[in-house]
């Protein structure tokens, strides 16, 4: 990976887009990468490194490998996700087994957390602490844990042992919700953790392979469960589902099954709408709807989605061997506005 060769790319077609957000706030940018989109590219599994692309909100500035360039070092193999706490970005390298802490607007590295991590996945913040899900070794079902990070020192202060395959984690007040996707196996639970005592307060049963989590306007926790597609090695389909958990009692309020063949791989909640995606389309439903969406709003290859300020962002990992792309759609008309080439296997989209 020669990041010295990285060049500044200026999108020549940027002026074609007349954005209404342009002259919004006269505040000074907090860094070179303020007021823009960050795309976390996983990078190559074998020996590779994750990278981050930056695209300014007005689309005039695009830049690749921003962290690698600013710090003259690599993020590590497989940039799984980024956790944000105030101005700090926590770059989680899954195979690299480390978290680089950097300023989200300048990308300047502050410190690095490593050592006690083991296959780290996602991070949430509560009660002044960071919580990182760790799969442990893929073949070991008993070594999974949540690493508790002391945010003042950025060191691991303790570990909470949990069941197999902790994946996504979100905070709701003083509680954390962890989906157990199940490592190489398959899970069907949500663990609720008290962020003050670092203890498990409840395990909630949901559908098979619970993945993404979101908080709705009533304080309920939404869980998208992939289910299991019918294949030659799995002859019986398990339907995907959307499960709602009461954020006070931690009881399941409702479970809506998806149609046969619909197995969501990501879910985003934005402005009262739930966006769900499969590998080829995006669906939309009201967060209080009791029926699942039947018609897609966008048909495009999907690796990751995100929604922000009336725009839908979709990444395409292409063939997983060449650079992927980011497509931006208008969330009202569902029409494509713009496409950018980004890095290898672009997984996550964040907004500065």
């Amino acid at each position: 990976m020669n990041f010295k060769q990285t060049v500044f790319l200026v999108a020549i077609s940027g002026f074609l887009v007349t954005s209404c957000n342009n002259e919004n706030e006269p505040t000074l940018p907090k860094g070179e990468y303020d007021k823009g989109i960050l795309i976390a590219n996983e990078g190559a599994f074998s020996g590779g490194t994750g990278t981050i692309n930056f695209i300014s909100n007005d689309y005039t500035t695009t830049e690749e490998k921003i962290y690698n360039k600013v710090n003259n070092e690599n993020i590590g193999t497989i940039l799984q996700s980024i956790g944000f706490n105030n101005d700090d970005a926590y770059l989680i390298a899954n195979i690299g087994n480390k978290i680089a802490v950097a300023n989200r607007f300048t990308m300047k590295k502050i410190t690095e957390i490593s050592g006690d991590l083991n296959n780290p996945r996602y991070m949430a913040f509560a009660n002044g602490k960071g919580f990182v899900t760790n799969w442990g070794e893929g073949s070991d079902t008993t070594d999974d844990f949540i690493a508790v990070i002391d945010l003042t020192t950025n060191t691991i202060s303790s570990k909470i042992t949990v069941s197999e395959g902790p994946e996504h984690i979100i905070a709701s007040g003083n509680f954390l919700y962890v989906s157990h996707k199940g490592g190489w196996g398959s899970g069907n639970t949500i663990t609720v953790i008290n962020a003050s005592t670092n203890t498990i307060v409840k395990t909630v049963s949901v559908g098979d392979i619970p993945d993404e989590l979101a908080l709705d306007n009533r304080g309920n926790i939404l869980v998208s469960c992939e289910g299991k597609a019918e294949t030659s090695w799995n002859p019986t389909e398990v339907l995907g589902s959307l499960v709602k958990i009461n954020g006070v009692t931690n009881e399941v309020i409702s479970t809506i099954n998806f149609a046969s063949g619909f197995h969501p791989n990501s879910m985003v909640l934005n402005a009262g709408n739930i966006y769900l995606s499969t590998s080829s389309s995006v669906y939309k439903m009201d967060e209080n709807a009791t029926a699942v969406p039947t018609s897609k709003i966008i048909t495009t290859p999907v690796y990751g989605i995100s929604v922000n300020e009336d725009k839908i962002y979709v990444t395409d990992a292409k063939d997983y061997q060449t650079n992927g792309s980011l497509k931006i759609f208008d969330a009202t008309t569902n029409l494509e506005l713009k496409e950018f080439t980004v890095g290898l296997i672009p997984g996550k989209i964040y907004f500065n």
């Binding site: 990976m1 074998s46 590779g48 690299g96 893929g138 070991d140 294949t231 030659s232 590998s279 997983y320």
Partner: protein, 611 residues
């Protein structure tokens, strides 16, 4: 292929052979006969072969990767020193180089490849690298080329012991003992080898060291021959290998993975000389391979594994119809079963028929023609052929041409891996054309080959709709290239000098996207100079490897050189040799695969005693 027509053709040839056999006096000398070597020599008209001499093996004895990367055209994707190492021959992929042990194709039934760091490097009398497609003779995967590892069983009076002991940087050790005892009636050869290394070298221009890279391996060989009488010989070959490796870190990620391999190859061969011209060889072989992968080598109770067992039976009929006409036909049956953590137990049976003919048409022109057809329960196998022609224009110049259709059958992983395996795959098909020129003078010889390989239905794992990776027959590729090798030898008084060099230029592209294939160096060059004077010998070897594309990254081109000096202590009774080797003398910072640095300057002491 119509089976009936195939049999009829076979019968006709056999009848023709009888009518010829009477007036010729060519005799198969059974005592020094190795069928597998003779196949590479006699039934490979138009194909070029590099023979790896004993002293090259001794010099790079750590692994077969080291031996071949400095002495052949093959590029190795070595995942760090001593780690998993797969070949790319003529720009083809890892499962397109066949490794043939005493005539038996030993590519893994699980992934179609041979890990060249998990196979003994010094168990053979003869190592040959044959460029070009050879599926007809050597089976699935012989597309870029094939590597032949042979043991010779001869019935002549000799007894010897050979001990080799090397020690080098990073606590790297090699110890081997080889014993041979033979007479006119029987032959025994036993070999024991062990290799180990801490392999904890420093990465150049980095604060990291090669953590988790240690390995050790053992190899045990037995070769036995018994001459029942002038007509019958019984031979037994057995080679067992065990390796325990930690899989080293990369520049971007630490590792605590571990890997264990066990493989055992066993072959019983019965040579029956029906007449002075006709030889029937029957063979029964049992090959076992097993691996265990540990994602935490501190906790070896958790692992994933895979295992295959192969039983092979072959009848190989050779007829030297005349001095000019040689015929070979093979009828083979193979049953393979595989099991492992990622797939259910499965078995496949393959019946194969091969017919080869070699004909010296005129004094200067000869040709070889071969056919193969496999029948198996999983899928339809294509009819394969190979044609090679050689024309000698003068004592100094020979022109050759060959064309062949080759294949690779889907592996057990491709078919049955859970999740993702695709039972509807068909074999990969590959067509090949090659022109070769051999120019020989008294002290110097040149070989120049141009090749074109067009492959279709290449099996590629791609992400499927259901989110799993699954193999399909999608890719089409074309590989175009040249290979040049030169060899120079000269004696003068007490001096002997030898120089070898190999250069290859390969242009390998995906036909649909017109993009260069990943993991293929465009230019590759290696050279060797050997110099002997009385008891001293000196060698210098170098390798240049061009830029290699890997996904969105480029592995930079590199050049690495080794130098060694050896002295034979003639005053001592057994005349032992001691030597000193400096590897990577220019301390080059290089990588064979992305972000896996190789060691800088390092040393090795070698001792070699024969008694």
């Amino acid at each position: 292929m119509n089976v009936k027509r195939f049999l009829i053709f076979f019968i006709i040839i056999a009848i023709a052979s009888n009518s010829y056999s009477q007036r010729d006096s060519v005799v198969v000398n059974l005592d020094a006969f190795s069928l597998s070597i003779s196949k590479v020599k006699n039934f490979s008209k138009g194909y070029s072969t590099i023979l790896i001499s004993d002293n090259l093996v001794t010099r790079n004895i750590r692994s077969l990767t080291d031996i071949l990367k400095f002495n052949s055209f093959i590029y190795f994707k070595e995942n760090g020193l001593g780690m998993v190492s797969s070949p790319s021959f003529r720009g083809t992929s890892a499962s397109h180089t066949a490794v043939v042990w005493n005539g038996i194709n030993i590519n893994s039934q699980l992934n179609g490849q041979v890990d060249f760091n998990a196979i003994s490097a010094n168990s053979y009398n003869n190592i040959a690298v044959r460029s070009g497609g050879g599926s007809v003779l050597f089976g699935s995967g012989a597309i870029g080329g094939s590597i032949h590892l042979d043991n010779l069983i001869t019935f002549s009076k000799q007894e010897r012991h050979k001990v080799l002991a090397n020690y080098g940087s990073f606590n790297t050790k090699h110890i081997s003992y080889d014993y041979l005892n033979s007479n006119v009636k029987s032959f025994v050869n036993i070999g024991i080898t062990t290799n180990s290394s801490d392999n904890d070298f420093k990465y150049l221009n980095s604060s990291l060291i090669n953590e988790n890279g240690s390995y050790y391996n053992y190899n045990f060989d037995v070769n036995y021959g018994y001459k029942i009488n002038e007509k019958h010989q019984l031979k037994l070959y057995s080679s067992s290998f065990f390796a325990d490796r930690n899989l080293s870190r990369t520049l971007n990620a630490p590792s605590n993975d571990g890997y264990e391999d066990i493989n055992s190859k066993n072959l019983v061969e019965w040579n029956f000389s029906i007449s002075p011209k006709e030889l029937i060889t029957s063979r029964v072989s049992y090959i076992f391979e097993k691996f265990k992968f540990f994602d935490n080598n501190k906790n070896k109770s958790n692992f994933s594994d895979g295992m295959t067992k192969r039983k092979i039976a072959q009848i190989d009929y050779n007829n030297s119809i005349s001095r000019k006409l040689k015929l070979n036909s093979i009828l083979g049956f193979e049953s393979v079963s595989a099991s492992g953590s990622s797939f259910a137990s499965n078995t496949r049976n393959i019946l194969s028929g091969v017919l080869s003919l070699n004909h010296q048409l005129t004094k200067k022109m000869s040709y070889g023609i071969q056919f193969r057809k496999d029948f198996q329960n999983d899928f339809e196998s294509p009819f394969l052929y190979s044609l090679g022609i050689e024309q000698k224009f003068s004592k100094k110049y020979t022109l050759s041409f060959n064309t062949s259709k080759n294949f690779r059958i889907p592996t057990f992983n491709d078919l049955y891996w859970q999740p993702g395996g695709n039972i509807n795959l068909k074999p990969e098909a590959s067509y090949q054309f090659e022109i070769g020129n051999t120019i020989s003078f008294k002290n110097i010889s040149f070989q120049l080959n141009g090749f074109y390989i067009k492959s279709s239905d290449l099996i590629q794992w791609i992400p499927s709709q259901s989110g799993f990776w699954s193999p399909t027959n999608t890719d089409k590729t074309k590989n175009l290239g040249i290979e040049i090798s030169a060899n120079y030898k000269k004696f003068f008084k007490n001096h002997f000098i030898e120089m070898n060099m190999n250069y290859s230029h390969t242009d390998a592209k995906d036909i649909e996207t017109n993009k260069q294939l990943i993991s293929v160096p465009k230019n590759r060059f290696n050279a060797l100079v050997n110099y002997h004077y009385t008891n001293w010998s000196l060698f210098y070897q170098m390798l240049f490897n061009d830029d290699v594309q890997f996904l969105v990254d480029t592995i930079p081109a590199f050049q690495v050189s080794n130098i060694g000096l050896e002295y034979q202590l003639s005053i001592l009774k057994n005349k032992p040799k001691i030597g000193f080797v400096i590897n990577n003398i220019y301390n080059a910072n290089y990588q064979n695969t992305l972000n896996r640095p190789m060691p800088g300057l390092n040393f090795q002491i070698t001792t070699n005693i024969n008694f």
